[in-house]
Assembly symmetry: C2
Homo-oligomer: 138 residues x 2
């Protein structure tokens, strides 16, 4: 019974949703004294250690940028660099315990912020999950 939105309308809503989510993430990061890029880096590292190169690829930036970002995170003891045991050119970056706590705090902040999700029924959550998976496949 709900009216069918045009592709343009849906794209506009999508843009609004993205802006809101991104602003929330940025605010949570800034409250922890982190820049968005630094917080994104911690988020990626949450899945496990990664080389400088693969980090740059995941974050869609040039590899040279990672040096400064990791430098600043390392200076605050949020991550550490470890020379790979199999290829001495490679440096693997891993979260420290402090870094894990920091990114967990940001995640908790995001959970508290995304109150809209709590207004969905289980069925609606499952449906939103399915639809987003179609629109943004992994």
């Amino acid at each position: 019974m709900s009216p069918i939105p045009s592709k343009a309308q849906l794209m506009e809503l999508l843009a609004h949703s993205v802006s809101t989510h991104y602003a929330d993430f940025t605010a949570a990061a800034v409250d922890m004294g982190l820049t968005p890029s630094q917080a994104k880096t911690l988020t990626v590292l949450r899945r496990g250690p990664a080389s400088m190169r693969s980090l740059a690829q995941t974050l869609a930036c040039d590899a040279s940028n990672m040096t400064g970002i990791i430098d600043r995170l390392e200076k605050r003891d949020l991550v550490r660099r470890e020379v790979s045991s199999t290829d001495r050119r490679v440096k693997n970056v891993a979260l420290t315990e402090v870094g894990e706590k920091a990114i967990d705090t940001i995640r908790e902040r995001m959970e508290q912020t995304q109150t809209g999700l709590d207004q969905l029924s289980d069925q609606e959550r499952a449906e939103l999950f399915r639809l987003l998976t179609v629109v943004f496949p992994r």
Copy 2:
């Protein structure tokens, strides 16, 4: 019949969706020789002229930043500043014709990129629209 995702899973998918969309937008902007902030500014101005102050508020940045961003857009004739006729302190920023074309091109690029939307039925589009409106109310 679909399994019900946890809030954490849904938030992770949401983050992935946001990243993908943001990366697409950035790529479209860069192809037009624009930075993300510049392209976002044009997007906001598409709704109509706005003062420097309100632009900063909408873009969630300090007002002092707008000066440089608008300077660079104006230098390329994408926007123009006009002193308000009712308050001479205020400068209203408006898209030029060139600016309108630029942001339209980016929008078209985004439409071509968001191919996932084309895989939804009308009913699914309406449902996604409804669910996103609940999660990210205006």
